[in-house]
Amino acid sequence: MTKTITDVICPFCGTLCDDLEVVVSDDGKQLLEVYNACAIGAEKFLHSQAKDRITRPRMRQEDGSWKEITYDEAIEYTAQMLANAKKPLMYGWSSTNCEAQALGSELGEIVGAVMDNTATVCHGTSLIAVQDIGIPSCTLGEVKNRADRIVFWGCNPAHAHPRHMSRYSIFPRGFFTGKGHKGRKVIVVDPRPTDTANVADVHLQVEQGRDYELLNAFRVAFKGEKLPDVVAGIPKEKIYEAAETLKSGRFAIIFFGMGVTQSLGKNHNIDAAIAVTRDLNEYTKAAIMPMRGHYNVTGSGQVWGWLFGFPFAVDLSRGYARYNPGETTANDLLRRDEVDAVFVLGSDPGAHFPFSSVKKIYDRPSVAIDPHETPTTEVCKVHVPVAFVGVEVGGCAYRMDNVPIETRKVVEPPEGMMTDEEFLSRVLARVKEIKGV
């Protein structure tokens, strides 16, 4: 006998699909099948069942080998490390639930940590741009029900957000968009003819790193002013034409991703894209949305927003919150040797930070809380495996459009494994003891 659980939320990307169906054994201990998920999401659920999964904390030994330790020992090491550090970095917070993020925030407050999340290497520069110019946006349902002009700028949902195009952006038939794909014009701006570009009506193969110039040109084109013959490798005729396509729509949406947030100009590229969206609202309705990566990176920005007032890179070391990307961001802190201990939860900087930063983690007292074995666990002194959020434990997560959805527990974690929340609350209690607060 098996049970089918419906309306399951996928804890992979910011698309946060909530229509998955998961088949589990009737004792709820085994996850057997996953339906409606993309290849990546399905793999994430199934990996929780891996036979070779690490289920107990480990500490790196002098000779480089791992020694299994108890959760109590891991909690003690973590609490002492955080309590003794002058300025610990507490990084990650994206592949976990908001409940754990809130607990981690209280912990960070008490130890005077710098809290940073994966936005710092993803959409942090978008957040900077939003602080400079704002962001006219909407929920994904507005796109589904109204949008007839879709732009993907420097993002490739076909690979990074596999169900985005079918659920929200290109193909769905909504209230005012009964024709689905036929009723929409799709423009892709990318230095590569990506698989997303292949389903678009127009692909502008922008010269890599010249997005700001091209966005700047769109604003000139909207006003019907003169353009140079070629901008960022795109002939002006194509720019005028694309600008006209956007102005002539009823509802235009621009989705953007790492292609602009990580290329030369960074926050300025987003700033200009948002300016383009503002401009379009003079002629029609337009919105813009970052294609958030981790399924709950948005949530950590929300939790820190209401607790501290900043969405990432929050420096609590002086007893109050400060924020300035470039100073209080994880990679700048590591490269400049501004932190003396590293705590990682719900992210893999070992794989996704430039190596110069990874080396600094290796050189410091460090703890990685992660269900997986990763390059981060490989360079940290202690690895604490935990239950998978969204699979073995529920909790709140925020979609890329900031819509909060409660993820579900579908199977039991392996015997005796802690969740992020359990581990953090134990560390918090121990730190309070040590600090006498």
Binding site: H47, M258, N267, F355, H372, P375
Partner: protein, 133 residues
């Protein structure tokens, strides 16, 4: 002979699937320990498809397998899926925004037939210990 190309990184479905299946597994190396080159650049490099190459920038060096661009053409632009291999060579400068310059790093690519592509864990461990050439 060596070629100069503009390196970008980013997600691919294979990177995503293999990452979720376990970064310690060979599939992850197969998906991310690669560099996608345009046919034109392969010609310049004078290498066959699926040859190991050494990618070197001002910031580091890594051995990956050269494969043909899956989402091309993009002559002059090379692509390594996001992950530890790409991160050995990307430009870490954040321009005081917190964001390393993951996309748009000038690199040279040399044929390195006999050098192995390390697994993700081996790669970071050896590099941290300074054991990596």
């Amino acid at each position: 002979m060596a070629i100069r190309v503009n390196l970008i990184t980013g997600r691919s479905i294979q990177q995503g699937v293999s990452m979720e299946a376990g970064k310690e597994k060979p599939a992850y190396t197969a998906a991310c320990g690669i560099i996608e080159l345009d046919p034109v650049d392969f010609k310049k490099l004078g290498a066959f498809r699926n040859t190991n190459v050494r990618v070197t920038s001002d910031y580091g060096s890594v051995v990956v397998k050269a494969v043909e661009a899956t989402q091309g053409p993009h002559p002059g632009v090379a692509y390594i899926p996001m992950g530890p291999w790409a991160n050995m060579v990307v430009n870490p400068d954040t321009y005081s925004t917190g964001m390393p310059t993951f996309k748009g790093t000038p690199v040279t690519v040399d044929i390195a037939k006999n050098e192995p592509v390390l697994s993700s864990l081996e790669l970071v461990r050896k590099a941290c210990k300074g054991e990596q050439a």
